[in-house]
Symmetry: none
Subunit: 210 residues, 4 copies
DNA sequence: CATGAATGAGAGTTCATTCAT
DNA sequence: AATGAATGAACTCTCATTCAT
């Protein structure tokens, strides 16, 4: 009956749980991820999850808040350096793309949550999702005022951008497989910078006057 | 102990299960949908699902194949009437959008599957997903050959189109809520025809030679 | 990581735990009361319960001993003033009833313990329960010797008295509800003095010689 | 991986579960009884309990209804033979006592439920408990009308009777132990008939005029 | 074809208890 | 004397799956 007692470092344990929860929830979705698994990966007792996050739902919300806060912060930060709305828009796209690529859980979580018949999304998530969209709206507004963007329906353009990037990131492996198997043109070898440059160029063309 | 045995022909029961499975899997996702629920909605015994579809996974694949086949057939059918690649592309977008709107399970399923760290997607599904994309590639190719489209990376454009439409359809309720709550510009009142017209216009602008 | 250590003298903390344990065990029973809850109500760390009372069972026994000691002391004290066995019996009944009423945990605990297939009752508890009964036997004996009580089987009479009082106290709310709902005659408005006067009168009639 | 499939007799399994649930809930109370234990005793899979009774609470209510219905039926049945309220009262007491003795779970369950801070008792239980009390009230009423009973507060008398009998039944083992250990007069050797005869005699004396 | 009884594995959650600090 | 981190076992409940009828 050897009872090995662990670390005893609250902050570390709490963070460890969150880190692994992000990974697993993104990979497998909410219901398919079990707390058993999370705790095993953390090498911590399952009860610790309840100790720190009250419930599975509580942990999940912590995960979402963490991820969305990070991407928002990053976008805001990058845009400090730009004054021109066009440049801001470019920066928005590139920042989002590179973040999505290096944190591939963001796209899957976003897609999964948004596809979960949206209306039931918990408030926390809702609020945090809005934040990112509002950053986008803001850029668009300023662009329109300066006469740089024409005929913009921000919701649709926003979904074109993040929809495409999200899908490109989450399907990466799949696209490689399809290319190897059937020689299908799936952009298998493009890296994220090429892709986001392309998107930037296309969106620019789309929004410019005339 | 009177046991009432329903007499229904086999085909009918099998179809009934598939129909309700489509509804429920789309609404709640794979793991959150229980076979108990599906069988109750069908007013059929749970064991029948195994009889016809072998397993939960088997039923799920049948669901996906059904949906993807339907959308492919629809796209092909609509395009019989067009000769011009630009018109074909427009038709592709509009057909997909209107189908997605009237079969709102398609977008959620597509997003969910694609966000499920794609590599594990079963072969059947894989094959069927490719079919739709190949229809798209085909249109693009012909457009390029005729010099109508320039600078096209089909995978990215494809994901822009279906990414945006999928997100717009699945977030419908959410966008209405956000509009009512905060007056946010979420395209809440646009109908799908306006939206797909807008997308058609923007994509056209994007692809036309300078 | 500032850790605020409460300074309270040991006795105070120990008593505080006992006090709240009495309340909670009586209200919800042994298994439905959690040490978490007790410690939260005390605003003390859960581990302190183990520090002072070794285990949940240990705390529970302390609770019971405390209660039974109190009621015994009270009965003994009140009877100092009486010489006549009949008056002592009356006093026993009234003291028990008024104590039960003002410490409503006594009846529930007694009933619960006695209904817990008695044989497993721990020794401490056993000893303390006997004490009260022996006070009763003593009164009866003297009454019989003086020829005042006839045909007394003390165990049965004892259970009639404390059985009735316990049930009346623990069912108070229930009886009010039943009266309000169905106009049932449940003695809903009687106060404890009327009731114990009635019991005294009836027991007297029961025991007096022909 | 030997999977032994059992009986396949619905009625039998359902009854078996109820039977063992009665035993265990009475012996250990609601929260201390685990469904694991019940299913093991039945040699049936735990899930069967949910299959037949939906939840632990559901099973518990079934248990209570069963017991209370049985005692009510028995009382009603025995009283068919009597016309005189005094005889009916005697019969009520004796029937209750002998039933309690041969179904010792009744007293513990009654005591436990009534001691559980009555107000939270579920409706089903509430209704069934009332039924027995109303049978009692009825007898008393007729006795008073015929001038046979005087000065009756039915709730108190009722609780004296069932309180005493319940306690005598549940403490049987305890009383024997106390007698053997300390020679205490605990009515250890009396059988239930002697006891109920004694109660009948005492209650009669209590209620008669003069 | 269809049913309902039965199962086993695992889910989220609670809780008494221990121990380093 | 007091704390909070950590544990393991148990609990209620769900679910995909099987099988006799």
């Amino acid at each position: 009956m050897s009872r090995v007692v662990k670390k005893r470092n609250a902050e570390a344990s709490k963070k460890l749980i969150l880190k692994n929860a992000i990974k697993l929830f993104s990979k497998k979705g909410y219901s398919s991820t079990s707390l058993d698994e999370i705790s095993k990966v953390c090498d911590l007792n399952k009860a610790m999850i309840f100790y720190y996050y009250k419930s599975k739902q509580g942990l999940y919300e912590a995960v979402i808040v963490k991820i969305l806060d990070e991407i928002c912060d990053r976008v805001i930060n990058e845009n400090k350096n730009h004054e021109d709305p066009q440049e801001e828009l470019n920066s928005f796209i590139k920042t989002f793309a590179s973040f999505a690529c290096s944190h591939p859980y963001l796209p899957s979580l976003l897609l999964r949550e948004l596809s979960d018949s949206g209306a039931k999304i918990p408030k926390t998530l809702f609020v945090h999702m809005k934040k990112l969209y509002m950053l986008f709206i803001d850029i668009v507004k300023r662009g329109e005022e300066k006469g740089m963007f024409k005929d913009v329906v921000p919701m649709v353009i926003y979904f074109m951008i993040i929809g495409a990037i999200n899908l490109l990131v989450t399907t990466k492996e799949l696209r490689i497989k399809a290319y190897e198997a059937d020689g299908l043109d799936t952009c298998a070898t493009c890296d994220i910078d090429e892709i986001s440059d392309y998107i930037v160029r296309k969106i620019k063309k789309m929004l410019k006057e005339q």
